[in-house]
């Protein structure tokens, strides 16, 4: 009897299942998205400057780097890891990209490749530290954060990399049919990573490793290799983000990204990722990143000083996660 039910469920219910899955996923981004919409509407009324093409353009460009790096962070968090080195590595990548342009005359594309390469190397280092040396991710990436920042300073002699051609700004300040180039890249990255996580075997493994590493190992997943891939891929995105950031300010900044890790982790968690692994989606993370950016933008438009901004950002982070937790409890009321 139960057998019949189960089968019927699978056949007739395939579409049904699919729908339910979609809805439940949509719901899980519900709170953060609601918060985003509410804030958006509120700001539109509160400030005449908010709902202008220029401002939305700026918000998009300002959030691009954070969103890309937050996507990278989300992948790592899903595996039950954490990457504290994102700020240092982004600075390292941006500085490296700027230096090869200034000193070696690389074209922009090649410089971007160098930046991405630097990010990938740092990611590989993180991955090997976690999988081969078996150092917990928090410590492995804390070390990379420190070492990376030191290297940036050594490379640059603690002076920004200036004297770049105007073309260097393309990535960060360019636009395509009126849309900031950085936003286009962000959308591509977000869609790509979301697809990877939800539709491919690699994504499945990522969730599995974060949910129960031992089970993943016993299921024959090469956890060392796959975990390393996750860190490398995260590094690639961080490198790209660092390059865009450098392009935005038309220079390689050795101090870029200090405490960036907190912002991107906050974006991921606001978007529903769990620091205990196995949970998290890119849509949520992107919403989280924009939520934080909107608060910052709105605060300036409404003439709120930086001090009060910090208080407000804290309150919003609390509120977003509180309502999300509350909704989940209502929905699942798990033991």
């Amino acid at each position: 009897m139960s057998a019949v039910e189960a089968t019927a469920d699978a056949r007739g219910g395939a579409l049904n299942d699919w729908l339910r899955e979609r809805i439940s996923h949509a719901l899980s981004e519900f709170t953060a998205a609601t918060a985003l919409v509410v804030l958006f509407v509120a700001l539109s009324f509160a400030s005449p400057y908010f709902l202008t093409a220029d401002n939305l353009f700026n918000i998009g460009a300002q959030t691009a780097v954070i969103a890309i790096i937050a996507a990278a962070q989300t992948m790592v968090i899903i595996t039950r890891g954490i990457d504290l080195s994102v700020g240092s590595v982004a600075a390292l990548a941006g500085v490296a990209g700027a230096m090869v342009v200034r000193d070696l005359g690389f074209p922009l594309l090649a410089a971007t490749a160098v930046a991405i390469g630097v990010g990938a190397l740092a990611g590989l280092l993180n991955g090997l530290l976690v999988t081969v040396a078996r150092i917990p991710p928090f410590i492995a990436t804390l070390g990379t954060m420190s070492v990376g920042r030191g290297l940036v300073f050594i490379m640059t002699g603690a002076v920004g990399v200036y004297g770049l051609p105007r073309s260097f700004q393309l990535l960060g300040n360019g636009e395509i049919i009126g849309i900031p180039f950085a936003v286009v890249i962000t959308v591509l990255v977000a869609v790509g990573v979301a697809f990877l996580l939800s539709q491919t075997r690699f994504g499945q493994y990522t969730y599995a490793m974060g949910s129960n590493l031992e089970a993943a190992r016993r299921s024959g997943i090469a956890v060392g290799r796959n975990l390393t891939y996750v860190y490398v891929l995260a590094g690639v995105l961080v490198g790209l983000g660092g390059m865009i950031a450098a392009s935005r300010v038309n220079s390689g900044q050795p101090n870029y990204g200090i405490s960036l890790e907190l912002d991107v982790i906050a974006a991921a968690v606001i978007g529903g990722a769990s620091l205990f692994g196995g949970q998290g989606r890119i849509v949520g993370t992107i919403i989280g990143a924009f939520l934080i950016a909107l608060v910052r933008n709105g605060a300036v438009l409404l003439d709120i000083s930086i001090h009060y901004q910090q208080v407000i950002v804290g309150l919003i982070i609390w509120a977003a996660v509180y309502f999300d937790q509350y909704r989940r409890r209502r929905l699942e009321s798990r033991g």
């Binding site: 139960s2 057998a3 019949v4 039910e5 189960a6 089968t7 469920d9 699978a10 056949r11 219910g13 395939a14 299942d17 339910r20 899955e21 539709q199 491919t200 075997r201 690699f202 499945q204 969730y207 599995a208 974060g210 949910s211 129960n212 031992e214 089970a215 993943a216 190992r217 016993r218 299921s219 024959g220 997943i221 090469a222 692994g277 196995g278 949970q279 699942e332 798990r334």
Partner: protein, 269 residues
Amino acid sequence: MATAATATAENDKPAAGDPPVLEARGIVKRFGHVEALRGADFTVGKGEVVALIGDNGAGKSTLIKTLSGVHAPDEGEIRVGGRPVHFATPVDARRAGVETVYQDLAVADDLSVAANLYLGREILRSGPLGRLGLLDKRAMRQGAAAALAELGVRIPRVTTPIAMLSGGQRQCVAVARAIIWATNVVILDEPTAALGVVQTGRVLDVVRRARDAGMSVVLVSHNMPQVLEIADRVEVLRLGRRAARLRADEVTTDDLVAAMTGSSGAERD
């Protein structure tokens, strides 16, 4: 009593001429100060259902984890089809066709039932998309539903995350997973402990069918009537060593209990 293990050492060879499908010799495994296995031996022949029994803490699960590549033994060797092998990871054991249901049910709580059943062996889309690693989720859902139906498991939906299942439902998923994939040996560490009467019956049916299809089965269980019902042979582990090897049709529950607790040095085979 304690000498029973050494006494068996001589007639370690199985009766038949074929080399055993899976064999452990003199396995020692230590955890810090605790010596979980102290020279354990174990043998499974082709098409045989062997029950591995022993008191709590005797070392059964540890032996099984050694046989399936989860633990590397400190001493001793493992042979498959007579040839010594070295299982560095569970993947090696799976490649040799050894599929295991662990007592601590290695399932990923956040993944769905279907995803867990296919974990590590996902069905990919056909064509170039598949080579990119794209999952065929629908095929996996249908396959999972069919496999669970065969075990008579009632599960809300195959897309439910494992975290939401009852104890028995979780175990059903783990058993189903091993049974789908086994080709050579399937090892079941207390597979029916949390199962209902009907589901237990189904698992035992599946074990019989596996044997009839030429597979070998290792079954760990504390349920002596069940052991006597299903097993061809029984191996008894005590204090990390093999204490006895018995033919199931020649012994009673009391004999088994005696062998496990060491209150009898009797040794048959």
